[in-house]
């Protein structure tokens, strides 16, 4: 088991090394065979591990491979923690990752840097698996930074395009701000508990008898600091701005890193730290509030975006907001459940949009789409499955997870839960609206594509559509593992994750929801279905009946401008943060500190030495007689000195 587990992350690393070092000289077929074989076997191993783990019937397993850092009483092991939570994450990461690798063959075939792409993708898999398997906060941070690096490299994959390299830098820098919070939180954890191992920290919390903190105790501070890290990686307000720009990367990257896996790292990390958060209601309130506001805020931006991938990007930000809302009301398993279903349907949406973009020769503006159903039937129908899933239409995966989140935020008696519920429900309406808009504008109605272009449109190769079909099936049936309470069918997913939450102080509060009647829960469900239906209906009337195109939307005037320009958040950040830093760097750090002080000191020494040298070198004038004169003068000086001092 121990050896088996280490090979799950190691295999993609081998793939990365092979393709990264020798990939240039490999034929294209060998490159993707290496990448896919390694991730494929990694996925198989994950499945084997899953069944072994089930048969062992234990709560968690810790494997320490070697001591990584040891200094004083600070010890960091290279070790893995295998429990239901990391098991779910490993399965999602390797499974979706493998599918997206397969998809990338078709999508990236004509791109330059084929081997580079697959090498980065494999490196990403390795880092992400380290992140979810780590058994301590520091190793988690290694994976955390590793995926950040891969994200940067892959956003800037088309580095010759300025917008792409700028987007890569933006993602990296914005993430640094979040990571600062994370690192400080990590130090505070060690400072408080003298260990950074997950299970040791959590049992220490239990043993020391930390109760639920009424005010701003140490756990609350740790919680807020870690959440700052999560806002960066998982694109929440105020650090979400990098994710929409990250769409500059190739579409499979958007699907894998910026939708299905990496951006959910923050959700995973907070769920992992449930022992801390469940004792810190203030931190939890911040998590839930930021999450639910982000869910609504990002959804509204999605309404008027014209770039198909940008709509999906804001949708991802919004859905991540849902996950944080779930965490905010202690519904950790519901958050992870939504993480999983979201990985399926959002990856599918991105890959579907990639299929459209490829068919239209890299056209992303929905103004120039429409009526593509005839030409891309498989893409169209698989994307419909994902759309229904994300909108929360019954029997599709997203319905169960989103409904669970809304029900929990309605019923769990924590601070502000009704605010979260209302924001989440409104966001659900808007989600249905912008997703149906996207589908209608892309696949239905009259085509707005010129004739000559239309004749070139054809369905993507089988390796791509195959992946779409698999993900569509998962998006459709994936939700059945987590049945809502009123159906009286056991919630397999929640029961499986149960051991992860053994360090929580009050199992009672989570189960307090059971005090509510099943009728209430059914009501909440009906409301969310109704809301999704209204959203879909509005989109149907506007975009299919009245055939409003993105260009006609501009008639809305001020509101359209405000939303289309993303509430001018980038401009505000530019004005409030970027420009002052630029000004300070130019006028203070550069012109005063660097030029005057640092250069001044260095140049000063040079000038001093030069001046002295010029003075001294005048003695060496090349005339022998003057040399002799100096020698004689020196001799006389010595003689004089001796006479003065020794002859009395």
């Amino acid at each position: 088991m121990k050896t088996l587990l280490i090979f799950i992350p190691i295999l993609p690393l081998i793939g990365f090394l092979l393709n990264g070092i020798f990939g240039r000289s490999f034929p294209k077929k060998l490159v993707h065979r290496i990448a896919i074989t390694t991730t494929g076997i990694s996925f198989l191993l994950a499945v084997i591990t899953f069944f072994k783990f089930l048969s062992l019937d234990v709560e968690s397993l810790v494997f320490n491979y070697f001591t990584w850092i040891k200094a004083g009483d600070f010890v960091a092991n290279f070790g893995f923690l295998l429990d239901p939570l990391s098991m779910v994450m490993v399965l999602v990461v390797t499974g979706v990752g493998f599918l997206i690798h397969v998809y990338s063959i078709g999508y990236m075939w004509n791109d330059i840097g084929y081997n580079r792409f697959f090498a980065y993708l494999n490196l990403f898999m390795f880092s992400m698996l380290i992140l979810v398997l780590a058994n301590n906060y520091l190793l988690l941070f290694v994976g955390w930074e590793g995926v950040g690096l891969c994200s940067y490299l892959l956003i800037g994959f088309y580095f010759h395009k300025k917008s792409a390299s700028d987007a890569g830098k933006k993602a990296f820098i914005v993430n640094r701000i979040g990571d600062f919070g994370f690192v400080v939180g990590l130090m505070l954890i060690f400072f408080t508990f003298r260990t950074i191992d997950f299970e040791k920290v959590f049992s220490e919390i239990v043993n020391r008898g930390y109760g639920v903190e009424a005010g701003w105790g140490v756990l609350t501070v740790i919680g807020v600091l870690l959440f700052i890290g999560a806002t960066g990686k998982s694109a929440q307000i105020p650090l979400y701005v990098w994710l929409p720009d990250a769409m500059e990367g190739p579409t499979p990257v958007s699907a894998l890193i910026h939708a299905a896996t990496m951006v959910t790292a923050g959700v995973y990390m907070i769920t992992r730290s449930n022992a801390i958060y469940s004792r810190a209601p203030h931190a939890l309130f911040i998590v839930g509030l930021i999450g639910s506001i982000t869910a609504l805020f990002a959804a509204t931006i999605g309404i008027f975006q014209r770039d198909i991938k940008r709509v999906l990007a804001y949708s991802t930000v919004s859905q991540l907001g849902y996950m944080f809302t779930a965490l905010g009301v202690l519904a950790f398993s519901a958050g992870i459940f939504h993480l999983m279903t979201h990985a399926f349907f959002k990856a599918l949406l991105f890959l579907g949009s990639g299929s459209v973009i490829l068919a239209l020769h890299h056209e992303q503006d929905m103004q120039n789409m429409g009526g593509l159903k005839k030409y891309l039937p498989i893409t169209c129908w698989t994307m419909w499955a994902a759309t229904l899933a994300i909108s929360g239409i019954p029997i599709f995966a997203g319905f169960f997870s989103k409904d669970e989140i809304l029900w929990r935020s309605y019923s769990t008696p924590v601070k502000g839960h009704m605010i979260f519920y209302i924001l989440g429900t409104v966001a659900a309406l808007i989600t249905a609206l912008y997703m149906f808009r996207l589908m209608f504008l892309t696949f239905h109605g009259k085509t707005r594509l010129p004739e000559d272009k239309l004749s070139h449109v054809h369905e993507s190769p089988k390796s791509m559509t195959g992946v779409l079909v698999v993900l569509a099936i998962l998006s459709t049936i994936g939700g059945f593992v987590g049945m809502p309470g009123w159906t009286k069918i056991p919630n397999i997913f929640e029961n499986f994750l149960e051991p992860v939450f053994k360090f929580m102080p009050h199992k009672g509060i989570v189960h307090a929801v059971e005090g509510h009647s099943a009728g209430n829960e059914l009501l909440v469900t009906l409301v969310s279905i109704l809301v999704a239906g209204i959203g879909a209906l509005i989109a149907y009337i506007i975009y299919l009946k009245k055939e409003v195109t993105p260009e006609k939307e501009e008639n809305l005037g001020l509101i359209y401008k405000l939303i289309f320009n993303k509430y001018y958040v980038d401009e505000i950040y530019n004005f409030l943060v970027v420009q002052p830093i630029k000004w300070f760097s130019t006028n203070v750090l550069w012109k005063i500190v660097d030029v005057s002080i640092i250069d001044g000191i260095v140049n000063g020494y040079a000038y001093l030495t030069e001046g002295l040298s010029v003075g001294v070198s005048k003695i060496q004038n090349g005339f022998i007689r003057s040399y002799v004169g100096w020698i004689a003068l020196g001799g006389i000086g010595i003689l004089y000195y001796i006479l003065i001092n020794f002859i009395k």
Binding site: Q620, N621, V628
Partner: protein, 103 residues
């Protein structure tokens, strides 16, 4: 009063000879003449060695004189050789013109 010749006279003489030698080195331009003045300085030092040796009743000074003489002989050999070469190259023995190491 009868003047008695004491070692001090020889010391004064060596001082005078040394100073003449030094001034000669400083003011003359011809390399050979400078060379001769250097020899004069060396011999002035020899004279002071002998004088002090006699005055202090120690034989060390006389030993040093032999060293200096040997050294002077060697120096003459090397020095004259160098002067010959310089003359061949520059057709001149004016020290003010021998400054190729400068620049």
């Amino acid at each position: 009063m009868k003047m008695k010749i004491t070692p001090d006279f020889f010391i004064y003489l060596s001082m005078v000879l040394f100073s003449i030698g030094l001034i000669g080195v400083l003011v003359r331009r011809n390399l050979i003449v400078i060379f001769m003045f250097i020899e004069l300085m060396l011999n002035a030092v020899n004279l002071s060695f002998i004088a002090y040796s006699y005055k202090l009743g120690q034989v060390d000074g006389q030993i040093y004189v032999f060293f200096v003489m040997v050294l002077a002989a060697v120096e003459v050999a090397v020095g004259l050789g160098l002067i010959m070469l310089i003359y061949r190259n520059k057709k001149s023995l004016d020290v003010d013109e021998i400054n190729i190491m400068k620049n």
